[in-house]
């Protein structure tokens, strides 16, 4: 469903992604691990369409279309969901309004009838129960004054309401204690399905104890330097990111030769 070929992207003339390849099929969960600054979040933002990043070359094919030419909202409506590393606070906009506007934007795109206030409330309350959010969070401004854990739960709530075809989770584990991590991971696991692809971006192996990926990719210097099964995450945990530097150096040598 998603095919990234030789993607190069930069921000303010600084190259971040330097030839990234990744192929995600429906039903697969791909974990992307890597040290800080390796380009993990850049990949997530480029997929979602943030225009601070410039795509210099490469291709991203999404459901047979050229993703890079799609506007931000079209990407979302066609089923790409980015769970933000730092969810944005929007004072004055109630979470209920935000969630319903998002759900209905996607439903319209799919040719489905929009949910009215009643149907929406019923639906959102069920989902909130699952992710452990109290009802009052519907009536508060989007993410405003939410704790780190509450913000991440809110992201998972959005994901379960929007039922994306491809979920990209950008360091959804950062800043979470172990209980919150479990809740978030449960929410994600519940959404695993044969039709849905996932990209789980994380710095730590910890999250992958709860969300067991089908594939693990190690990102370094803007490229994937090693891919493997879920055991790769454990190896990385054991050997540390110092090992990644060696891999990166080897690859560069290989590329030069």
């Amino acid at each position: 469903m998603l095919n990234i070929k030789d993607l190069h992207a930069s921000i303010e003339d600084k190259a971040i992604l330097k030839g990234l390849n990744l192929h995600v099929k429906p039903g697969e969960v791909h974990a992307i691990m890597g040290p800080n600054g390796s380009g993990k979040s850049t990949l997530a933002q480029v997929l979602a369409g943030r225009d601070d990043y410039r795509v210099d070359s490469g291709e991203v094919e999404w459901l047979g279309q050229n993703l890079l030419e799609m506007p931000i909202e079209e990407r979302a409506r066609s089923g790409i969901f980015l769970a933000f590393q730092y969810p944005i606070e929007i004072p004055g906009v109630s979470n209920a309004y935000f969630l319903r506007a998002a759900v209905n934007a996607v439903r319209r795109h799919q040719g489905l009838e929009e949910l009215d206030a009643m149907d929406f409330l019923k639906r959102v309350k069920e989902e909130m129960k699952v992710v452990g959010m109290r009802e009052e969070f519907l009536y508060r401004s989007v993410n405003e004054g939410f704790s780190g854990g509450e913000k991440k739960r809110n992201e998972v709530l959005q994901m379960s309401l929007l039922e994306p075809k491809l979920a990209v989770l950008d360091e959804t584990d950062s800043g979470l204690d172990i209980d919150a991590l479990r809740v978030v991971a449960d929410g994600v696991n519940r959404l695993r399905s044969p039709e849905r692809g996932m990209i789980v971006i994380t710095h730590y192996q910890r999250l992958l104890d709860y969300i067991v990926p089908d594939y693990v990719h190690v990102l370094a210097g803007g490229r994937i330097v090693r891919s493997g099964g879920s055991e790769l995450a454990h190896e990385l945990e054991k050997r540390g990111y110092g090992w990644v530097k060696e891999l990166e150096a080897q690859q560069q040598k290989g590329a030069q030769a």
Partner: protein, 436 residues
């Protein structure tokens, strides 16, 4: 002929036909008022109070206070909708009883026109009328030429729950209206007044309006002004408030229309433990200009004033805010908060904000702050990454910016009107209905 001279001539031609012309005190005061205006003329940008607001475009237009009014029944009907209650309607400064209704009023509540009150209870009018020295020269011109206005009197303890709607319509091209409204809330009374200013798009009209408010001890008065005049109109408005001890006054100034809108809002605490809320939401697009000048006289100890003004400026739209707070010697325990925040939607939009705090007392809490910002890119991206198109996302953020100001308006029916008026400014505004 200069603009000033034409108004002086206008006064000469019709001062004998103005309401209460036979009252000696009023005739003399009007005479002094027109003399003051003739001497001072229109304020210029050299005047500190008018530094950012030029009246030059106003001076270039010839207006006619005697123009034949155009039929406005349809637009008044549209404004009223199916809201019951008390409606007092003025067209080009003249009372239009056929367009309004007073309904049944509780005892102790009197609502009528200034002309009527001058005919039947001139003494009551006199003590609330103000004088020619109040405010700037435009306010003096108002006093000289005011042809009518609303008169509301709440007897001690009288409580009016439903808002009183006062509608001012600029009916046609070149129409000029001078209205003076008196709101008197006696001890322990409660009331809520909404002034609507509307016109017809495309018409250059001129509104010069002064509202004088007296809030006696323990009384509570809420004043809302919904300024939605035509984008070509000139609107000069002043509110002067006197507050006794333990009184509460709120001004909600929702200024969305007019080419040039100027609001002078002043309140003075004459007793202790009085409280006032000055709240404003304004919007200027095109080359329009909205100016709020506030003055709070903390003359007595332990009074509270909160000011919150929020503006949205698009295109070459320009906002001005100047907030003076005077804390007199001995006014200890003063609690004053002042804020002016503006959102600029274009590179050429502008907001000038100037707080002026003069504090001569000890033990006071006075804070002020102003911000000027643009739409937050991260917020826009977040909304769009959830499937909202750019226009919807922008409208959500713009509306959310002023929502806090709208939320302060009471009661709910008035808040809904104000919110609706703000939403109507943007295409796709109906999508925001549930954002209240």
């Amino acid at each position: 002929m200069s603009s000033v001279q034409s108004w002086v001539n206008d006064f000469a031609a019709r001062h004998t036909q103005l309401p209460g012309a036979k009252l000696a005190w009023l005739a003399a005061m009007r005479q002094r008022a027109i003399e003051r205006f003739a001497t001072e003329g229109w304020p210029t940008t050299k005047h500190e109070d008018w530094r950012h607001t030029s009246l030059a475009p106003l001076e270039q237009v010839a207006f006619d206070t005697q123009a034949q009014p155009v039929d406005v029944e349809a637009i008044v009907r549209e404004l009223r909708g199916d809201e019951p209650g008390c409606w007092l309607v003025f067209v080009d400064g003249r009372h239009a009883p056929a367009l309004g209704q007073l309904g049944a009023l509780p005892s102790g509540v009197r609502i009528g026109t200034l002309a009527d009150a001058l005919a039947h209870e001139a003494d009551l009018v006199q003590q609330a009328f103000g004088s020619e020295t109040d405010g700037g020269s435009p306010a003096a011109l108002n006093l000289a030429l005011a042809s009518d206005g609303a008169f509301v009197h709440l007897a001690p303890g009288a409580v009016l729950e439903e808002p009183i709607h006062v509608v001012f319509v600029a009916s046609g091209e070149g129409a000029a209206a001078f209205t003076r409204n008196l709101y008197v809330a006696e001890a322990g009374s409660q009331g809520n007044v909404v002034e609507h200013y509307i016109g017809r798009d495309g018409n250059i009209s001129f509104t010069n309006t002064v509202s004088r408010v007296q809030v006696a001890a323990d009384a509570r008065l809420v004043h809302t002004r919904l300024q939605q005049e035509a984008p070509e109109a000139f609107h000069l408005a002043a509110i002067d408030v006197e507050q006794a001890g333990k009184s509460y006054f709120a001004s909600h100034s929702i200024s969305l229309g007019a080419r040039l809108a100027r609001h002078d809002i002043a309140t003075r605490f004459d007793g202790t433990r009085a409280e006032s809320l000055l709240n404003g939401v304004y919007y200027a697009n095109g080359q329009r200009h909205v100016d709020h000048h506030t003055l709070i006289g903390h003359a007595q100890p332990n009074c509270v004033s909160h000011e919150h003004y929020r503006g949205i400026l698009a295109d070459r739209g320009r906002g001005v805010f100047r907030g003076r707070i005077l804390v007199a010697p001995g006014a200890d325990g003063t609690d004053a908060i002042q804020r002016n925040d503006s959102l600029l939607l274009s590179r050429l939009a502008r907001n000038d904000s100037k707080p002026e705090l003069e504090i001569y007392a000890e033990d006071v809490r006075c804070t002020h702050g102003a911000t000027v910002g643009q739409l937050n890119e991260d917020s826009l991206f977040y909304l769009m990454a959830r499937g909202l198109d750019e226009e919807h996302a922008r409208n959500v953020l713009i509306y959310a910016f002023v929502l806090e100001g709208l939320a302060r308006i009471e009661p709910e029916a008035v808040r809904r009107r104000a919110s609706h008026a703000v939403r109507a400014l943007t295409p796709g505004g109906h999508l925001l209905e549930e954002l209240e």
